[in-house]
């Protein structure tokens, strides 16, 4: 699969937050380009702006200055509703604290993004396939509160893949897990990347970052280092879209 444009293009982005009477710069002129098929790990100390950058890429935050283009769409001028709709189709997000809907079963949590995006065909079959892929199919009828942290995060990854996004954004996906469950999650991300999914992951764990094909290090709202890790691999087969 050949792409004319990069998966992500971030140009001279600034983002400030107001704290009391002061403006705190979270990002100060960040530029970054991510090609399709890359697995980027964004690392750095707390407060360096890595999660802010990820939020900008997901369109859940808007830059004060600069341009953010993801999958060919400029996110800077889109409305909240348009962003939500775009996210549902194009991006899968994995949160540190899983953020599953507590009143929906595991299976229903996977169906939810498909429901929101209006994908009504074979939803249940696809949801089960995804659960099988992340190894928790037997938990399909359970509520999130009945699952361990690792199981919840695997369900969260399956949910992120529900609409077969080309881009997976993960914010500290192992941050709330023990080492065993952390490894399982990293292996899952690795498998997805090998299948062709572009992965952008924020982490403060060097061992997790080591799995990525490229590591971007941030400090004080700037990228201070951008190095390639493992050789970049082209996926042999793209992940099946929409079941």
């Amino acid at each position: 699969m050949k792409h004319e444009q990069p998966a992500i293009r971030v140009e001279s982005v600034h983002r400030r937050y107001r704290s009391g009477r002061r403006d705190i710069p979270a990002l100060a002129g960040v530029s970054l380009t991510v090609e399709y098929g890359e697995w980027i790990a964004i690392v750095g100390p707390s407060g360096c702006g890595k999660s802010t950058l990820l939020n900008l890429l997901a369109g859940i935050d808007i830059a004060d200055e600069g341009a953010v283009t993801v999958a060919g769409r400029s996110l800077t001028r889109m409305s909240e509703n348009a962003l939500a709709s775009w996210r549902g189709r194009e991006v899968g997000i994995v949160f540190q604290f899983f953020q599953l809907m507590p009143t929906l079963t595991v299976l229903e949590n996977i169906i939810l993004p498909m429901d929101l995006a209006g994908n009504n065909r074979n939803r249940s079959t696809r949801a089960r396939q995804l659960l099988e892929q992340v190894g928790v199919l037997e938990l399909a009828g359970n509520l999130p509160s009945e699952l361990s942290g690792g199981e919840q995060q695997r369900v969260a990854i399956a949910r992120a893949l529900a609409n077969a996004p080309r881009l997976l954004l993960a914010d500290e996906p192992t941050g709330n897990l023990d080492s065993t469950n952390g490894s399982i999650v990293v292996d899952l991300l690795d498998a997805l990347w090998r299948q062709g999914t572009t992965v952008v992951m924020v982490t403060h764990d060097p061992d997790v970052a080591a799995h990525a094909s490229r590591t971007v290090t941030m400090r004080d709202g700037r990228i201070i280092e951008d190095e390639l890790g493992r050789p970049r691999r082209r996926p042999p087969v793209a992940l099946a879209a929409n079941g």
Binding site: S51, N55, A58, I60, D61, E80, N81, A84, S85, R87, G88, R89, I93, F95, Q96, F97, Q99, M101, P102, T103, L104, T105, E108, I111, L112, P113, D115, L116, A117, L143, S145, R159, A160, N163, D171
Partner: protein, 780 residues
């Protein structure tokens, strides 16, 4: 402590929408109770104010053949304080927008008026060629000072014109809008010219000792009879009642029930909101405790929070209640011809406002505050404010199939069940609101249907009464009229059994114009000693049974009668203060009234019963019988008046139901807003994974509809017995009602309530859709 107080006061600004809803709950509860209490007080004051200076006549009757000295003669009789005569006729007038009924009262001199004093509220009393209307006449037709009205005695008569020069307030006169008839005042000469009479025909008497009023009426009747003055029976005023007092009392009783219902609902609403606020504050209470805050300091701090809302709500609710009470009083006093009393503030209403507003708010705050203040610091600090768990397996199963249609709908419906206690409180509020609505619908329909049933007893399309009794054979003369198919001579009189005042009706044994519904015994026959049939309400009031003997005081005479039957007939006319009816054979009543073979009332059945035909026939009858001083009544007009009176009752009840419904809908809106506040993160995540505004609105609308649906089902079940209670209470106060509840109105309530809730729930949905994912995920 000062710091804590500052914190609480700042916290009040943090939740503007929730605080406004809490305030609204307190205001509605307080305002309802204060409004009804102040209305009841003001109506009592209005009654006192109106009647204290109006010199109400205790006895009143139409009389034929009175001379200018009749009043002086009567004033010399024992127990008589004052007597006065007037010229009265029932006719029609036109202001240019159609003919309307009017009771035209002529006075020799308005300055010399001593009884039933009429007060000018605008303009002045009329002179020759002028007319003054009771102020309520404006409800019937547009009439203004300076306008010219046409008056005619009958359609065949030439028109007389009069200029409107004033508006009056007439105590003891129900509003024109209610009676479907205006009251107007003119010089006596105008009435005499219209009617062709040479003297006054209406006698008013004020007595010294009310308990001897009936005896005095008998004495006056005998005296006038000897002087050749024929009179119909005296109306004896009940000193404890005024026209419309029974209806007003019922209305205030029902409004009182609803206002307390509203107050109870408001309390639940307030408690619900404050409990939610307290659960949000758990972590902060933990912090205060961890840095040395003592239990009493925490309790006091959060009680101040509740007190500020309570005080503001009480004050605003009290003020709103006084204003609403003033408006209701104005409306009711206009209807009943009472003078609106000056605006006043009563300690009782302040006490009620404090009781409903402040006490409820403090009590609602106290329980959650105490629970949190006693909790351990560690558990408070761990509390996220809302539990994430959801263990409703049964609900999961029930709503599971919905996910194939819309997962968002399932999320909303399951969210509704996440806080069982709050859900229960909200459903309770909706239940009571729906039950109140259903009950009011049932009451309204029961009253309306009962009126129809009561009028179905009477086959007559109308009645004509004569101020001068005529021979019963006059019925056959009337029957020659082409409009009339059948006429029966009846007679009516006021009387009393013991201290209970009642109406006495004399009619033939086989009267096709009255379809009696016998409950016990047999119908009236001519007998000696006379037999009587009582209505169920009169029999109940005097504790009489078939076979009993009772003394009947008919004014001019007393006689012991045997009760031979009891019938079901609660029909009454507006302003009638008498209890039930006594039916006797016409000959027996005439004998007691010394009327011989004469009658002063004829019931007639017409060829057509539509209002236009009835009015035409009525005018023709008046024209033909004008020498006897006819006053005609139509069945349709009486029925219309009754419906209008019921309209007032149902209108006021519906207003209260709307208040209750507003509280119910506010309860749902409040719960949804609390739901948003507690689940901001979930809504943020939904947005993050692709939910648009529409999806968020669907989640909230589903939650609201789920709550409403459960409340509606419970409310309909509770509504039925409540409707029974309400109809029974009204039956006891007003007249016997048959119970009617329309399934269509129940279904309509269901549909309208669900649509309303769906529409109202969309607002919190839009609020939730404004949550940006970054606001809730940034500090993850």
């Amino acid at each position: 402590m000062r710091t804590l107080v500052s914190k609480v006061l700042r916290d009040l600004q943090r939740r503007p929408l929730r605080n406004v809803l809490t305030l609204l709950g307190i205001i509605l509860g307080v305002a309802g109770v204060v409004a009804i209490s102040s209305t009841a007080r003001s109506v009592a004051d209005a009654q006192r104010l109106t009647y204290s200076g109006s010199q109400q006549a205790d006895l009143a009757t139409f009389a034929n053949g009175m001379s200018p000295t009749t009043a002086d003669l009567i004033e010399r009789q024992p127990n008589v304080v004052a007597a006065e005569t007037r010229s009265v006729t029932f006719t029609r007038f036109d202001t240019g927008s159609g003919w309307e009924n009017v009771r035209l009262v002529g006075l020799e001199s308005f300055d010399a008026m001593r009884l039933d004093l009429v007060e000018v509220v605008e303009g002045r009393f009329p002179q020759r060629g002028e007319i003054a209307f009771d102020e309520s006449s404006r409800e019937l037709t547009p009439v203004a000072i300076g306008s010219v009205v046409a008056v005619r005695e009958s359609p065949a008569d030439p028109l007389a014109y009069a200029t409107v020069v004033g508006f009056t307030r007439s105590p003891a006169t129900l509003g024109a809008g209610l009676m479907n008839r205006a009251t107007a005042y003119v010089p006596a000469i105008t009435v005499r010219e219209l009617t062709g009479r040479t003297s006054d025909n209406y006698l008013l008497v004020r007595v010294e000792d009310q308990s001897r009023a009936s005896q005095t009426a008998s004495d006056i009747s005998r005296l006038l009879s000897k002087r050749g003055v024929s009179i119909s029976s005296f109306d004896v005023r009940d000193p404890d009642a005024f026209v419309g007092s029974q209806e007003l009392r019922t209305l205030l009783l029902l409004l009182g029930i609803f206002s307390w219902l509203g107050a109870a609902l408001s309390s639940v609403l307030v408690a619900n909101t404050l409990a939610a606020v307290m659960s949000e504050e758990m972590a902060q209470i933990g912090i205060i405790k961890s840095i040395g805050g003592r239990r009493w300091q925490i309790v006091l701090t959060y009680l101040i929070y509740g007190s500020v809302l309570g005080a503001a709500g009480t004050l605003l609710g009290w003020l709103a209640g006084l204003v609403i009470g003033r408006e209701i009083t104005g409306y009711l006093t206009r209807l009943t011809g009472l003078q609106q009393p000056p605006f006043g503030v009563a300690v009782r209403e302040i006490g009620l406002a404090l009781l409903v507003g402040a006490l409820v708010t403090l009590t609602a705050s106290l329980l959650p505050v105490l629970v949190n203040a006693n909790a351990r610091v560690a558990s408070l600090l761990r509390s996220p404010g809302v539990r994430n768990e959801f263990a409703g397996r049964r609900i999961l199963r029930v709503t599971g199939p919905l996910t194939s249609v819309s997962v968002a709908v399932a999320v909303g419906m399951r969210n509704a069940m996440r806080r069982p206690r709050r859900t229960l409180a909200t459903i309770l509020v909706v239940t009571v609101a729906v039950a109140a609505f259903v009950a009011t619908q049932a009451l309204s329909r029961s009253v309306s249907e009962t009126v129809d049933e009561l009028y179905a007893l009477y086959g007559a399309d109308g009645w004509v009464s004569f101020q001068r009794p005529v021979d019963v054979g006059f019925a056959s003369v009337l029957e020659q009229d082409p409009w009339i198919t059948h006429v029966e001579a009846w007679t009516s009189a006021s009387g009393a059994i013991g201290s209970t005042r009642t109406d006495i009706w004399g009619m033939p044994t086989d009267d096709p114009l009255y379809s009696y519904r016998l409950v016990e015994g047999s119908w009236v026959t001519r007998s000696n000693p006379p037999s009587a049939v009582l209505t169920t309400n009169l029999a109940g009031s005097i504790d009489a049974k078939v076979g009993d003997w009772r003394e009947l005081d008919i004014g001019v005479s007393r006689e012991t009668v045997q009760i031979v039957g009891i019938v079901d007939d609660s029909s009454t006319y507006l302003g009638n203060a008498a209890t039930g009816k006594v039916f006797m054979h016409i000959d027996d009543v005439n004998r007691l009234r010394s009327l011989g073979r004469q009658a002063d009332l004829f019931a007639y059945q017409l060829t057509a019963s539509d209002p236009e035909s009835v009015d035409r026939a009525l005018a023709a009858i008046e024209e033909r019988t004008r020498e006897y001083g006819p006053v005609t009544y139509s069945s349709y007009s009486d029925q219309q008046s009754s419906r209008q009176a019921i309209g007032v009752l149902t209108l006021m009840l519906n207003v209260m139901v709307i208040v209750v419904a507003v509280v119910g809908v506010s309860g749902i809106a409040n719960t949804l807003l609390i739901s948003i506040a507690e689940r901001r993160r979930e809504f943020g995540v939904l947005r993050a994974i692709g939910a648009g505004t529409r999806h968020i609105v669907v989640v909230l609308v589903s939650e609201g509809v789920m709550l409403a649906l459960l409340g509606l089902i419970a409310g309909t079940l509770v509504g039925y017995p409540l409707a029974r209670v309400l109809v029974n209470v009204t039956s006891a106060e007003l007249f016997e009602l048959s119970f009617h509840l329309s399934p269509v109105s129940v279904v309509a309530t269901f549909v309208v309530a669900l649509l309303t809730v769906a529409a109202v729930s969309a607002v919190p949905g839009l609020v939730a859709s404004r949550i940006r994912p970054i606001q809730v995920l940034r500090y993850e």
